[in-house]
Amino acid sequence: MTRPSIVLLAVLALALPLSLLAGRVWIDPWETPNAAIILMELRLPRGLLALLIGAGLGAAGAAMQGYLRNPLADPGLFGIAPGAALGAVVSLWFGYAASVWLLPTFALAGAAAAMALLAAIAGRTGGIALFTLAGMMIASLAGALTALAISLAPNAFAMSEIVTWLMGALTDRSWGDVWLAAPLILTGTVLLRLAGRDLDALTLGEVAARSLGVNPAALQALLIAGVGLTVGASVAVAGVIGFVGLIVPHLVRPFTDRRPSSLIVPSALAGALLVLVADCLCRVLPLVTELRLGIALSLIGAPFFLALLLRMRRGLA
């Protein structure tokens, strides 16, 4: 394990227990009434979900940036997150979300459909340009259908529910969500880590990568599966949470040797930390209603993105 990963693990080991105590009501494990129940049934699953989602999005971002050889790539660009969101919106539209399992199931089905479409369009050749365009087209289509669903919502309550859900949050999540997301996100992260060697080869471009033994179609399938599982499961349990996959690899890259493979695990750990801290902020900030996690991360992410663009511009000048 590399030094950045060890440091991040140590910080996470400290941050998770502290995060359990943080909230609108700060918990003293010895004094607060029903502290054990609150910690075990509300705060711990929420904290673990934050870790899982952050890890999945961080790993997916690092892998996608390595795959596209572009530091501005984000897993949301490739249609899987919008596909999952569309699935969830459909379940809310029809009122199926009243059942605990149906919303995440629909979201996972949406992610799977986006993955299948992406693989069907781009998978045969393994070409990166076609993959990117296909992903953007799927993202655009899913976004348009989601907007259509909102505009044709059967009633104001459904519309409000859809819009609120799309903002992403970890409020009121339970162990059921953890058990649903954990195997999918962990499997996806392992798949992305397995793609590391081929992503390193892509540092030298597609042709050189093939000459180094990379099978482009197999790599693409691995990435679609890895990003699909991590991002699809994240959206299924928490809604759309942007910017993690974009920001985290940038924060971690200077502390690694900059190969995509050495970025995936530290990005997963840093993503876990970022979402955990952001969710704590959402709970702690004294607002009328709890700040949505997706909004909080976008508020952090957008200025970061702009700063990144300005730094790149200075580099080009």
Binding site: D200, V207, G213, D257, R258
Partner: protein, 252 residues
């Protein structure tokens, strides 16, 4: 282990680019692929590396066609350096060269250090590639290929845009690799470099092999006139020849 093309034809985007090329290349030598722009040199090199499927004919490495080898096995045997190779991330020179070990699935430090030393880059291992000069970068990319200890080194215009000293340094490294038993195939535009440093030259024109032989035979003035449309004369002694073009052959 010989690398051979037998009656090889390759099409790109439905257009035939190579037509019926046959050549058997021996290890331990430097072979130059020469020809005017669009002659099919880069296509032939990529096809020899097993990266382009033949439309007809075959490429064989020993007894096996490279496209049929498992991609990693092919990568262990054939090191390929494309023209204008990009480096997407600002890795250190040592990390860049170590990418050559990917087909082996290890990060053996000995071959990486050897490749770095043989390309004269020993003092630069920790330098980010963005801080390297054009010549250092080109040598680092060649060292990346050599770190994989391939039986064949196939490089597309590795000397383009290098100054004289760097060209000679690169050719020295490649000659060392050939003397150690590797086969070296280079696409070269500079006919004098091919004449002075290759053991054999293949001349392509319009996707066909029009000359194949020793440097003196394949790059004879008559062939240069016919293929490049330029009347030219070789000056100097063997091993230090210079090409003196007179005028375009077909010009009034």
């Amino acid at each position: 282990m010989r690398l051979a093309a037998r009656d090889l034809s390759v099409a790109l985007g439905g257009i035939d680019v190579l037509h019926g090329i046959s050549a058997e290349l021996a290890p331990g030598t430097i072979t130059a692929l020469c020809g005017p722009n669009g002659a099919g040199k880069s296509t032939l090199l990529a096809a020899l590396a097993g990266l382009l499927p033949p439309r007809s004919g075959a490429i064989t490495l020993g007894e096996e066609p490279p496209p049929h080898l498992a991609s990693r096995e092919r990568a262990r045997r054939i090191g390929y350096l494309p023209q204008n190779c990009e480096i997407a991330w600002d890795v250190s020179l040592a990390t860049l060269v170590a990418l050559g070990r990917l087909p082996h699935g290890d990060s053996a430090s000995e071959p990486v250090a050897q490749a770095i030393a043989s390309c004269g880059l020993a003092g630069l291992t920790a330098r980010p590639v963005s801080t390297l000069s054009g010549g250092e970068r080109a040598r680092a990319l060649l060292a990346r290929v050599m770190a994989g200890e391939p039986r064949w080194i196939l490089a597309d215009e590795p000397l383009a845009a290098l100054d004289l000293a760097h060209q000679l340094a690169m050719l020295g490294s490649l000659r060392q690799a050939a003397q150690a038993g590797a086969g070296v195939v280079l696409v070269l535009h500079d006919l004098a470099l091919a004449m002075n440093h290759a053991d054999r030259v293949l001349v392509l024109d319009g996707g066909r092999l029009v000359a194949d032989g020793s440097t003196e035979e394949a790059l004879a003035s008559a062939i240069i006139t016919r293929v490049w449309g330029v009347e030219a004369e070789w000056l100097g002694e063997a091993g230090a020849r210079a090409l003196a073009p007179r005028r375009p052959h077909s010009s009034p």
